[in-house]
Symmetry: C2
Subunit: 240 residues, 2 copies
DNA sequence: TGCGAACTTTGTTCTAGCGCAAGGTCCATC
DNA sequence: GATGGACCTTGCGCTAGAACAAAGTTCGCA
């Protein structure tokens, strides 16, 4: 979905942004200004916010929901590069010197997104704390990518899937009765695209873990009951 | 090696920096200033310029040689994250909002390196074109990491090694009689650490390619005779 | 010139986990 | 309440490539 942003939501309250790191040092007035420049929009689950290669006309902030950053190979395989939780900027191509989006962003669940025209980027950068926080975010994402590379290079499938699951519950987990649940719909296929394996293998692993009482899962939902047991898997032994 | 930088080289000429992208828009006088603030140093092959986790006290520019950015796992395995060619900044932790280096930098061949105290970073950022070029570099490196993830997730070992080799000759290749040679010493082990495989497998692949006339290799040296043949390998078919 | 360390090669064995196949379950929609 | 599509499970065979093993080669250095 690349069509123009539209205001489908009621007038936005300043409190939406006051606690988001990139804006937290700004005055109420400044935030009002920023909000008045923003378009807000609701995306249903599974919709693209922008596509890889498209001209980077706007930058975004996720207010609610989850965004999945994906890449698609020439042969049509998808790989999930990153999950973005609420409160983060994304599609900030200009921050890394690009004029087109380097990947596709899709909603992992219904999401509320603010966006601004990329022309405003430079003025945003001048706001107190904005640049610092933004580059911190870039750094964090680089770190995550790096860890992923190391993980794929050195760990077995079981450990990778365990780690991916742990990361999900840590970053986006919601406490429920039996443990912590990933709080957006997630399929075996999704998990396999995050860990470079097949949905079959993921399914088998989840079955085994469920038998061992470490997780509980139903269609599109996964609850981690015993995080520590998964951590231990991750620390077991190396590939070589 | 983390010991203090020392001026071991003769006085630096302005022309060293005038054609390096981050500085190319600056006046001769400004460049003189910048050089006078710099420490220069020669590192023999295989030496660490800085180590992962250390406080990021300086940032660097590679004048000559090659730098390898590596990470080491808890179990002692090395993985090579990136190769940096001459003319690029590295160790620019501040650019991504970090106060310690996120990886270790080691020379892949004898190298000449300039460095400045990180306290000067903000003033450098104000120089015309410096910030833009720097963030472009960050963006490029993110892109490379991303491609690497996709590659590891979707390609077979042979294709990955072929691609890694192609990237090396494209970025750092030196034309020789029989083809293009990687212009720093590189072992089978190095190549395996770049592609998440073993030195044994790399050795077998190189042997096979040599038999097919696509490459020529000796101890620590690899010449690609028929780049196109390697490209074709990379395009063959996907894993799934 | 001879020793040892650092590289490289090649053979053989073994297994993680992929590919393939078939069937089951849940859910939306008519 | 039946049809179809999306998602999940499980079994089995097979192969890429890791692990193990053992020699061979090159090079710096005493």
């Amino acid at each position: 979905m690349i069509d123009g942003p539209t205001k489908t939501l009621p007038r936005l309250d300043e409190s939406l942004l006051t606690h988001m790191p990139p804006f937290s040092r700004l005055s109420r007035e400044r935030i009002r200004q920023i909000l008045d420049l923003a378009s807000s929009r609701r995306y249903p689950e599974g919709q693209a916010v922008f596509e890889e290669g498209a001209e980077a006309g706007r930058f975004f902030m996720l207010l609610d929901g989850y965004i999945r950053v994906i890449r698609i190979t020439e042969t049509g395989e998808q790989i999930i590069a990153l999950h973005i939780p609420p409160g983060q900027l994304f599609g900030i191509a200009k921050a890394i010197g690009r004029s087109s989006y380097p990947a596709t962003a899709v909603t992992a669940s219904e999401s509320i997104v603010l966006s601004w025209p990329m022309e405003l980027w430079d003025s945003f950068l001048s706001y107190d704390g904005f640049a610092t926080e933004t580059y911190k975010t870039v750094g964090t994402r680089m770190g995550e990518m790096n860890n992923r590379i190391v993980e794929m290079a050195t760990q077995q499938v079981e450990q990778r899937v365990a780690n991916a699951l742990l990361r999900l519950v840590n970053q986006t987990g919601r406490k429920v009765e039996e443990g912590i649940e990933v709080d957006f719909p997630i399929t075996r296929q999704d998990l396999s695209e995050m860990t470079a394996t097949t949905l079959h293998t993921v399914s088998r692993l989840l079955s085994a873990w469920e038998k061992a009482g470490m997780v509980k899962s139903t269609r599109k939902h996964i609850i981690v009951c015993d995080p520590h047991a998964l951590v231990v898997l991750g620390h077991h032994s190396s590939k070589h």
